[in-house]
Symmetry: C2
């Protein structure tokens, strides 16, 4: 009922980062693709199996360095139901290796519909009185454009099982400003959303002081993150945009509090595609990912000390 589980894992590895698992087939080295295509043909099934082997290799290489993974649902839905089946397996495997799983689904719907999403992704769906778990993530991302009706059902589903959620507050893309930066009364739209998260989460603070309702706050706007950290002291931050998207360790340091707590920084491409920069043929993808993850950890450690 808070971010304690995640903060504990971060402290154990002294590493406040999360590795994206963005299952793009062109991120997968040639030898894995060819092996899968030979077995399953060139198509959705073959692509899914190639990506699954890639994910397993990444998880094995990262699980004692990085505390969490963040599969991006879009890249699994991209491959249809077979991609979703592979996503279920990926989440199960990551959890079996002790990793915290943030399903980046950015779902945003209301009432019973939001509950249906939350059951599917967090606590399991009821069929004739029994709960059946499917995607079974520790945490999901949520889009709150529809207001608190879109957030509360995820809190209910997360509560039963000490899981949690991140709501989009300030995203890392250019056009985020078109809506999120508008002045609404005496606040900006994204501040309204941030305040809503902290208000809804009130009373669910764990031992580190953070509620179960976290916030996504992009690394491409460091001054905004600094202000949000002051404004939302009980809100855990997921910070995308480090690395390939232009955010630096110097930028993201402001997402953390004085104990180095309260934030986790995501990198996807720079870890998954590290093998493309080694000059090899991709058979070294796991070692390359691990080295990139270690380098990212050490880069962030120059600015942030997790106590």
């Amino acid at each position: 009922m808070s971010f304690d589980v995640l903060q504990d894992k971060i402290r154990a590895l002294k590493n406040p980062t999360v590795a994206g698992l963005d299952a793009r087939i062109d991120y997968v080295p040639e030898h894995l693709r060819q092996a899968a295509y030979q077995q399953y043909g060139v198509g959705l099934k073959g692509a899914c199996e190639a990506i699954y082997q890639f994910n397993v290799g990444l998880i094995d290489a990262l699980c004692d360095v990085v505390p969490a993974v963040k599969p991006q649902s879009a890249y699994y839905e991209n491959l249809g139901w077979q991609g979703m089946e592979m996503l279920e397996r990926t989440i199960r495997y990551a959890r079996s290796r002790g990793m915290f799983v943030i399903a980046d689904v950015k779902r945003g719907d209301i009432g019973a519909t939001a509950s249906a999403y939350a059951e599917g992704w967090l606590c399991g769906a009821p069929v004739e009185g029994q709960a059946f778990r499917s995607f079974d993530a520790d945490c999901v991302t949520v889009n709150g454009y529809m207001g608190s009706d879109a957030i509360r059902p995820f809190m209910e589903a997360a509560r039963a099982d000490d899981r949690c959620l991140f709501v989009l507050v300030k995203t890392s893309n250019d056009s985020a400003r078109e809506l999120q930066d508008m002045v609404a009364g005496d606040r900006l739209v994204y501040q309204v959303m941030g305040d809503l998260c902290q208000r809804l989460g009130k009373g669910t603070e764990g031992k580190y002081g953070f509620t179960m309702v976290g916030a996504v706050t992009g690394a491409t706007y460091p001054s905004d993150i600094r202000a949000l950290r002051r404004r939302l002291e009980h809100t855990f931050f997921l910070v995308p945009g480090y690395g390939a998207q232009g955010g630096t360790a110097e930028d993201v340091q402001y997402a953390f509090n004085e104990y180095g707590h309260g934030a986790i920084v995501n990198a996807s491409r720079s870890i998954m595609c590290a093998w493309k920069k080694t000059g090899g043929d991709g058979r070294d993808f796991a070692d390359a990912a691990r080295a990139a993850a270690v380098a990212m950890r050490d880069d962030i450690r120059r600015y942030v000390t997790v106590i």
Copy 2:
């Protein structure tokens, strides 16, 4: 590259409504549930098969009265990958019966991630240079909180194949006002979103004058719909909230232009669960759904004439 296909289907049936396919197991009559559980056991697989048989019965009963169906992704994700497989079959079946399929996914992400969603739901995913279709809907719903970066990739994917999208502008739930009704400069937040849709869609107008970027505008706020209809004359509206959520035919009439064009009104529970009000055991679910759909059509016809 517009809403022409949908408007043509609406004109052919003189019925500007869409039936939600919200796959809740407790909406499915007992005889279908028991048959599926006997074959597949009580669990996700059994639930999926029961719902699929229900969906097929509804589609068969509705396809010559109602021009479109709107499956709500949450209720399929709720059942894991097997739910997603069943959703693919449901979409394929509805299209085979000539129905226009609006996949209510409310996805909201940016750049390559949004493209991955759009490929999965609209135009197919590329694997080694070939496109493989999965969910294959005619139209999707999109959440634009992240700005135009979240909308453009869906436009690209839809363009190739004369498909289209609806962006959430003003939703039908109570807490919509927490964010959407805030005053931002000289506009409200939802007006900003509506204006963004019309601006992005500019140049894609079809023979009826509507762009490929539609808007979701809830029926529970009729005065807002009336103002939006005037403001966004080239934007096609998806209007949820009729029936179970409290919107009336009198309310929704303002979503249409002077030709009775430019809007489609959704009802889900009142059609899917019509069998619960006949006093029968549910074996009459298809007839009950058809009667409810005809009644809804006739109710709306009292206020709206589709030319």
